[in-house]
Symmetry: C2
Subunit: 166 residues, 2 copies
């Protein structure tokens, strides 16, 4: 019985996230061009890898993925299947007040989302993009730059920069 | 039916991890002093926060927690309840080959584990410690340093350095 409760508790966010990630919720702020929204429950998704972004951004970052995306990473599946969603969380890199050699997350900065839908986003490698600050999408001009950079730099990995950290 | 399958797939690692984290598996390499082992399934646990460790270690890190620990973080529960387990993964910080401003995880270095058991580890703040390289615990001398540092620096947070990244 205890196991069943655990199961339900975990499944709810997964199900919500799968629905919301499809960018079909008209009540949520959606990115220009792509109509991508921030998926519910993403903070509970499995992490793919951390990263560090040099100044001027000077950020610590963590990419998480939904179940479809994580399974694809583990299996080495490329291209990622439709329904894959990746979310990158970012924070200003801040000196730890507790341990001098460490830097830790400061204030959150952006949330960036990639949603795979090979039909809907056929002209951008099958990916829709969304970049959000305080839950609001940034402007169309910024969104126009997403795919060009991904396409130029990581075409061999289905346009995804982040690799799975072992 | 699809939902039920998802539920089972997720619950299995959670259950295994809870059992293994208690350091009761005699077949797994255990840390000196504490007898802490690497919990099964920890790579699938929710992430608490990333961090950067300056040279000479020069590492990117991510702390994950089991369900008990994550729930305590979200609720702001201190001290952490018995059964809480935190695992810190670490990798050499490496320049991204794909995007110049970014640094990404290189080779994995250590896995560090904290297990809360207020009776078993009563003399070390209720925490047992394990530091592992390639799955093998480091020596007793290194393990003797764990609690002294945690005790000196973060007594107000139940001896846990890492804060939950929003």
């Amino acid at each position: 019985m205890k196991t069943l409760y655990l199961a339900l508790a975990v499944v709810v966010p997964v199900t919500l996230a799968a629905a919301a990630g499809a960018a079909s919720d008209p009540d949520k702020p959606a990115s220009p061009i792509y109509g991508v929204t921030i998926p519910d429950g993403y903070r509970q998704w499995e992490f793919i890898a951390p990263a560090l972004e040099a100044p001027p951004l000077d950020e610590l970052r963590t990419v998480v993925g939904n179940r479809i995306a994580v399974d694809a990473y583990r299996a080495g599946t490329l291209p990622f299947p439709d329904g894959s969603i990746l979310v990158k969380l970012a924070w200003k890199k801040t000196a730890s007040p507790d341990f001098e050699p460490a830097s830790v997350p400061g204030p959150a900065t952006t949330v960036q989302v990639m949603v795979k839908d090979s039909r809907k986003y056929a002209t951008t490698g099958g990916w829709g993009f969304g970049r959000f600050i305080d839950g609001r999408p940034v402007d169309e001009a910024q969104h126009r730059t997403c795919f060009a950079c991904h396409e130029a730099r990581v075409p061999q990995r289905d346009f995804v920069f982040t690799r799975y950290a072992p």
